[in-house]
């Protein structure tokens, strides 16, 4: 992340209480002995490799890392990590992880979930984890389809999608997970793509360093039931027009490079509406192009950025860290209250508690 705009120095404190590894770790240390059983060609493999590959960079004692998942293809993830892990029930991983993280601040807790798990059955837990800002890193694998139940539309599927349960096309308007997270008061929201290992790793790293809940939406290809859903973002020619790469402190430019070598298209604020729109840089002038500020206290611009993407074509999809701000972390607040209670009332005395203030004595 380039630090050209002043912002809160996130980073080490997110993991300050997690013990460090004694020896240098390698990717191999994070691979469990279980056979990986996703379909050949599934985008999940790439994400698993990226996570196993970047974990050693964190240098944390792996016994203090926990992966918690719900139900769905991606939720098998914990079985393949040689850390502590729990494969729980559909949609509930954020709540289980909340209990774990808020009772054990010495752990680095990760939630692995999918678009059905997090946004459909578990939508309630997701938004409340985000507003509380529990110290969790949520990896939301979005493939815009239900894979494990063999191909029904999901809450991120495009309107009109023909699936097994919607032979005449789905009627539901989809969620934009980034918009949703921003609306739920998330302090860290990012989006990345399974096939872009470098970008994926950099976003995971930023999430790991973030104190509080980090939501990372990972566009992930289901090659069986929704193959090519994100092709427009991956195809070299098309991606240039479709993907808006966000970098903190940099002007938001994309598309075919212009004379200055940067994207010929850019994002500007419409002075009439305050909304954002895409323009030709040459026409608007470089000074008019919005500079991305992930640390802005207000989520307004991040939300407007999230709305640039066309839900059907995915054109103008921003990827990168949309929002990264510091605000009080739930687990810390909870621990502080415990400390304050001891300070104010002294350490609990069970005998005194049971006796209370209003007693009488029976003598034999």
């Amino acid at each position: 992340m380039t630090e050209t705009i002043a912002g809160p120095a996130a980073g080490p404190q997110a993991l300050a209480l997690v013990p460090k590894a004694e020896a240098k770790q390698s990717m191999k240390d994070f691979k469990s002995d279980q056979e990986v059983r996703w379909c050949p060609g599934c985008g999940d493999y790439a994400v698993l490799a990226a996570v196993q590959g970047f974990m050693p960079d964190l240098g944390l004692a792996k016994e203090n890392i926990v992966f918690v998942s719900g139900i769905g293809c991606s939720s098998r993830f914990p079985y393949y990590m040689n850390t502590y892990g729990m494969h729980s029930i559909h949609g509930r991983a954020p709540s289980i992880a909340t209990g774990l993280a808020s009772s054990r601040r010495d752990l680095s807790v990760w939630v692995v979930t999918g678009d059905g798990d997090a946004l459909s059955i578990g939508g309630n837990h997701l938004i409340h984890a985000l507003r509380r800002n529990v110290n969790l890193k949520i990896l939301l694998f979005n493939n815009r389809i239900y894979g494990l139940t063999k191909g029904q539309y999901s809450p991120t599927s495009e309107v009109g999608k023909i699936t097994k349960s919607t032979p005449m096309g789905s009627l539901d308007a989809p969620f934009n997970p980034v918009s949703l997270a921003l609306g739920a008061e998330a302090s860290f929201v990012a989006r990345t793509v399974d096939s872009d290992r470098k970008h994926l790793t950099s976003v995971l790293r930023a999430a790991a360093d973030h104190p509080g809940t980090a939501l990372v939406e990972i566009y992930q290809n289901c090659n069986i039931f929704n193959d090519g859903a994100f092709e427009v973002l991956k195809d070299k020619d098309k991606a240039q027009e479709a993907v808006i790469r966000l970098e903190h402190g940099q002007p938001i430019r994309f598309g075919v490079p212009g004379e200055d070598g940067l994207g010929s298209q850019g994002v500007v604020r419409d002075p009439a509406t305050g909304d954002l729109k895409v323009v030709d840089v040459a026409e608007a002038g470089t000074d008019a192009i919005l500079v991305h500020d992930a640390h802005s206290p207000s989520p307004t611009t991040a939300f407007a950025l999230s709305r640039l993407a066309d839900p059907d074509t995915l054109h103008h999809t921003p990827i990168g860290v949309l929002r990264d701000v510091e605000r009080p972390v739930y687990d810390t607040l909870m621990a502080d209250q415990l400390d304050a209670a001891v300070e104010q009332q002294g350490k609990g005395d069970l005998g005194a508690l049971l006796t209370g203030n209003d007693t009488w004595t029976v003598v034999g």
Binding site: H87, P94, S95, S103, H128, L350, L354, D358, T359, V362
Partner: protein
């Protein structure tokens, strides 16, 4: 009180024993009668402060040393329309100079703050009882609201009762006229006037209430003083007015109690303290994940006050997240608890199933209320037994522990924690609305007397592979308890993954093997079936043919009824189940010993169903699902009928 049964107490809860005496001690020459027990019911509008009045009278009575039992009864609406029948809130208190078991069948004294309170409660009041009415409220509109065409105070309909008409509102306002309060503010203290009057009638100590009022209104000293003044005015009114010619004494219940220090305690408070104590005795931090629901919320409120014991309370976004957070904390090594009532249990079912599969310790506290669905939120019922027993997908056995009295909720919580921690299993603690809100004296235990609940976390490998490698197997079991090791994150070398998918025995890896699944299902069942619980004790002094078997909060009325039956010269045996799953090992043998087995329950026969299924015994159900506890007299008649049958 529960533990001591003296010979006089055998007839207790039956006829009153009284003695008359008068003495002129200078100040008054009013007659004082001694009674062995009294049942008072305070009834008024939801906004009249009847619960507070009852609580204060209870505290006074407790500190005086009587045995007591209480029954708060209030509507689910916070403020139902004023003056209506649905808006009536009442608080019944039974206190005695001996060991008693129930809040009493019928009040000796009814305090009716308005016409609705009179109308709603009159049917429960036996002829000859005293009724104190606030005459100020018996005007045209309030009477019309509840369908009184003529005033019951004047039309002779209360002739069978001893009615004390008292203008409570007027007297209160008059007493507070120098306090500069508005009429409305002054009127609010009329419950304290009534409390003062009743405190005089029954010679209750008053210091506690005055101290309480000073503390409650510490930030509004004028209101505190006004309430104290109203309270004293009520007392003085009793002392001076001729309408109250007699006052009553109920001596402390000194012989009914074992020696010790006592306090009054409600079921939810005792349960909360039991959880705090369990955390201390297990040397584990308590983590409560909960969502507010009547009548369980008080446990969340109480535990949230004890952060200095390391207790974490998490008010979740819903019932599912409440138990989810608790289960997450259990994985991390906390003593995890979730509290709820029946509808909440329904929502938590899937997570309970996960806890069964993960084999982690977890307490599920269900304060049962009337069902189905929203049912009767503020009323009591025992109809979640089968939900606790079977309400999950798959074969998912969960141990069930049920307290029998308010104070017993403390011990039951410790017992449930013992089972959860020893056997690494979710455990149901089935209390109910009657126990939760009712109160009784409790002998405060010495901390040193409490059970040691400490458990050992896994610290290293527990299995050697064929090639000699030392490994950790998360599902390798303790041979005696069948519990699996509790390996908490942060322990090096024990990294492992668990989940809701069927696991291979030992390794805990995913397994779809048919034989393994069959083995794991049977093993989980065997673990719960093998939980050590004490044998069922039977109280059968006279070699009876008929056994009455109960569980949970029916203990009080059943025991009171058994005493009446025996007092009338008939033989009956009594036993009460604390453990519903597994049953005590000797239960089948006990049932086989009797010709007739009666099972009273506040449901349609759920325990009876289990008994019939397990023991092929012809258990006779006696059922009531009115939202109210059984009455001793009602059960005594049922028992007599069964004996004579």
């Amino acid at each position: 009180m529960t533990s001591q049964v003296s010979s006089t107490a055998e007839q207790a809860d039956g006829a009153h024993v009284g003695e008359q005496r008068s003495f002129g001690d200078g100040g008054t020459d009013k007659e004082i009668r001694r009674l062995d027990r009294v049942i008072i019911r305070f009834a008024g509008d939801s906004g009249d402060g009847m619960q507070l009045t009852g609580d204060r009278f209870t505290s006074e009575t407790a500190s005086f040393g009587n045995d007591l039992s209480t029954l708060p009864n209030f509507p689910a609406e916070i403020r139902a329309p004023a003056g209506t029948l649905p808006g009536v809130s009442s608080f019944q208190l039974h206190f005695a100079d001996h060991d008693i078991l129930t809040p009493g069948d019928a009040p000796d004294v009814l305090v009716a703050m308005n016409p609705a309170a009179l109308k709603a409660n009159l049917a429960d009041v036996p002829h000859g009882a005293e009724i104190i009415v606030n005459t100020d409220e018996f005007t045209k509109r309030p009477m019309a609201k509840v369908g009184y065409a003529t005033s019951p105070l004047e039309d002779g309909s209360l002739e069978a009762y001893r009615v004390h008409p008292v203008p409570l509102t007027t007297l209160t306002i008059e007493a507070l006229k120098d306090f500069g309060l508005s009429r409305k503010e002054a009127e609010r203290s009329k419950n304290m006037f009534a409390l003062g009057l009743l405190s005089w009638m029954y010679h209750r100590p008053t210091e506690g209430t005055e101290k309480f009022l000073a503390a409650k209104f510490a930030k509004k000293p004028d209101i505190a003083k006004a309430n104290v003044a109203a309270f004293r005015a009520g007392w003085n009114f009793g002392e001076t007015t001729e309408d109250f010619a007699v006052s009553y004494e109920v001596a402390p219940a000194t012989t009914a109690f074992p020696t010790g220090t006592y306090r009054n305690i409600s079921g939810n408070l005792a349960l909360s303290y039991g959880l705090v104590a369990a955390g201390r005795q297990a040397d584990l931090p308590v983590y409560l994940g909960s969502y507010p629901i009547t009548p369980a919320s008080d446990i969340l409120h109480e535990l949230s006050k004890h952060k200095n014991f390391g207790v974490r309370t998490f008010q979740a976004e819903d019932e599912i997240a409440g138990i989810g957070a608790a289960l997450g904390a259990a994985f991390g090594g906390s003593l995890a608890v979730t509290t709820t009532s029946g509808p909440g249990v329904a929502l938590k079912s899937e997570t309970i199933g996960l806890a069964v599969s993960l084999e982690l310790p977890l307490l599920i506290v269900d304060i049962q209320r009337g069902g189905p669905s929203t049912g009767l939120p503020t009323k009591t019922e025992q109809a979640d037994l089968l939900q606790a027993m079977y309400g999950r997908n798959g074969e998912a056995p969960v141990p069930i522990v049920a307290p029998k009295t308010p104070a017993d909720c403390f011990d039951a919580a410790l017992d449930a924690a013992r089972i959860a921690l020893t056997y690494r299993t979710p455990v149901f603690l089935l209390s109910d609305g009657y126990l939760a809100n009712g109160s009784e004296p409790w002998r405060i235990p010495e901390v040193e007397e409490l059970p040691d609940l400490r458990v050992q976390f896994a610290t290293g490998p527990n299995h050697t592979l064929a090639d000699g490698t030392e490994v950790f197997w998360p599902y390798k079991r303790d041979e005696r308890t069948l519990a699996r090791p509790w390996a908490v994150p942060g322990t090096p070398g024990l990294e492992h993954r668990i989940g809701g998918i069927e696991k291979q025995d030992g390794t805990g890896n995913i397994s779809y093997d048919p034989a393994n699944h069959d083995f794991m299902v049977r093993t989980r069942q065997a673990k719960v079936a093998g939980i050590e619980v004490p044998d069922l004790e039977v109280d059968d002094p006279a070699d009876a043919d008929t056994l009455v078997l109960g569980w949970g909060s029916t203990y009080g009325p059943i025991t009171a009824a058994v005493r009446r039956v025996r007092g009338a010269g008939q033989r009956i045996a009594q036993a009460h189940l604390r453990h519903l799953n597994p049953f005590p090992k000797n239960l089948g043998e006990v049932l086989a010993r009797y010709d007739k087995v009666i099972v009273p329950e506040m449901n349609l026969g759920q325990l009876a169903t289990l008994l019939r299924a397990e023991f092929l015994v012809d258990a006779r159900s006696y059922n009531q699902v009115s939202g109210m506890p059984f009455k001793a007299q009602q059960l005594a008649e049922v028992f007599k009928e069964a004996i004579n049958d």
